[in-house]
Amino acid sequence: MRNPRRTLLAAMATAGALTAVAACGGGSDSSASGSGSGKSGGTYNFWDPYPQFDASSAWGKLVGKCGTDAGVKVKRTSMDTTDLGNKALLAAQQGNAPDVMLVDNPVVSTLVEAGILNKTSDLGLDTSSIQKNILGAGVIDNASYGVPIGANTLALYYNKKILTAAHVDPASVKDWASLTAALKKVKSAGKKGITFSAINTEEGSFQFLPWFWGAGGDLTKLNSAKGVAALSLWKQWVDGGYAPKDVLQNTQTTSWQEFATGEYAFSENGTWQLGNADKAGFPYGVISIPGQNGGSAPVPTGGEFVTVPVQKDSSRYDVSKKIVTCLTNSANLLTTDTTLTYVAPTAAVQAQQVAKNPELKPWVGAVAAARGRTSDGLGTKYPTISQPMWTAVQNALSGGKSPQAALDAAQTAAGKG
């Protein structure tokens, strides 16, 4: 070594320059954005995944009011739904989880696995009026860990103009065969068939599940003949030009934007698009997603749960409970679910919603038939199944693998956990 000090400095500088890479390595202590449960007197921290609503929105005001009613000030922090789960884990690690947190339902089981959520029974929250299948996503080992704020799910929107022009009667779409036949007619009438989202994220799995379950598929056996049938259906549509190739990149939002161009006959999309559908500028209708051999396919439940993360200072729970009860009482559920265009989780509020807006009727039916992704004891196994599943969908639709081979590989990966 001619000049050890220089070498050391150079090596340090190099290491320094490369450390930026470490950021990708995950999990280092990037502390969650300015939230601390602390003992800051009467301030309670509240997180939600609704950055689209600012403080002046109905939702923002409701959160503030529930705090005031409980005698405290609520500091609301909104972030993107994918950020929320990770930030919650980091905050819990640092011991400053928020007092009340609204999380996407499949995240609940992960947070329970991390041991950072309180049982609703321990808090004394009443969940008896909530529909069982909606509550299911937040139930782990027979204990529930959150109160659903509302539910949404998927159905097929259709463009009435296009179907009329192609001489397709939406009532004739009863199973996969009749749906594919309808798509064929639309295509030969010069329009485009159907859009959906097959992106390689949780959204892709969410959109694939109605078809997977509609064929009778079982998430613990991805490569069964039923699972392959569902994937083959999608592949047949993409290969036949009934669905655009860019479904592989579509989020549910971009898929909706395609439908909103007025070029597509069908769109698999959610309750939350109803507001946009009225603005689309063409008459539309909604039918439930058909099962392989008729009937409605079971659809996955979407929507958020209000949860109360574990705090060192358990005296805070009383106020947290009041805030949760306030957010989930019938009157407030009605307002919130109307704002979000969600279906309420209780029969009483659903009836009020339908009375106000008859268009919601098919959606209430769909939600009643919906399943939680993490229900049926899957819990945190679901994420390890979902990721290989969306990868299989991508591999099959892009032509990289046959549906059978793609799902075989997915099953192997899911089996490893």
């Binding site: 001619r2 000090r5 070498t7 150079a10 090596a11 340090m12 190099t14 290491a15 320094g16 320059a17 490369l18 450390t19 930026a20 890479v21 470490a22 950021a23 990708c24 390595g25 995950g26 999990g27 280092s28 202590d29 994918t82 990770n86 884990l89 819990a92 690690q93 499949p106 995240v107 992960t110 696995e113 991390a114 041991g115 950072i116 992106i199 390689n200 994220t201 949780e202 655009p244 190739k245 860019d246 592989l248 990149q249 395609e258 945190t380 679901y382 994420p383 979902s386 990721q387 990868t391 991508q394 591999n395 639709l397 892009s398 032509g399 990289g400 693998k401 793609a406 590989a409 990966a413």
Partner: protein, 327 residues
Amino acid sequence: MTIARVDRRSQRSPARSGATGTGHRTSASDLRRRQRRRSRLTALAFIAPLIVYLAAFYLYPLYRNLDLSLRDYTVRSFVQGNAPFSGLDNFRTVLDDPTFGPAMRHTVIFTFASIAFQYAAGLALAVFFNRRFRLAGTLRALFLIPWLLPLIVSASTWSWMFNSESGVINYALHLVGVSPVDWLNSPDWALTSVVIANIWIGIPFNLVILYSGLQNIPAELYEAASLDGAGAWQQFRRITFPLLRPVSAITLLLGLVYTLKVFDLIWIMTKGGPGDASSTLATWSYQLGFGTLLPKFGPGAAVGNILILIALVFGLLYIRVQRRQEA
């Protein structure tokens, strides 16, 4: 820097104190020692902020990442902080994963294809702009645009342009009679698409550094060469290219490090898809750590460390090459 200057001063001081006379030798050496200690403390005070900064923002994250990769983290032990030490298990898991081979291969292809084209295009443009013609300044500024745009903007724009249904690139291909290509949706083209976008983003960096390198080549050399009858190509090959070698080396190394860790561009354009067709070590690491509902911090950190290790090897290689050039 600070240390070097202090050393020089303390070396010079004996000569100066010798001139002041021999009678006060003892007190002078006392004074000298005290002075030396003081200057050393001052030096430390100057360097302290840097050390604190390096420790807080480089060493600690690096240590945390290593720690994450050597422990068996589940979401529960991540929160409670009691993950058991598991040695190299995470690395073994990662190496055995069917994604590892493709991700490694894609990283190598992505990095080397990007760098080769960025460097070639950057060099060609630098030589071109070095010829000082009217509008050269304006045009050069225009070429910097990819560098100035936020990455999310350029990546989203490329993603729209490459869209297989309504993208402008397929439209252009259609105009010249080429059938549309599924740029981002086909396993054969996804990697190529992100490489193309990355080349576009990297050209300005190469252009700027190589252009500044060209300014340092004395014009007399070219005059002498043209008097000797050397053509443009010979001038480039015998003068420009050899004299640019040190600048080229640093450009290529920095490019390599930047390109190895490119994550956002790929994530925005394809998320590593379709399937694994465009996933690199960087996107895979993120996918493991944050891409699913159930984070796998350990394997994610392990992939990150492998990436750091690769970059470190090239860094050391660069230092070696540079030392040999100086010698």
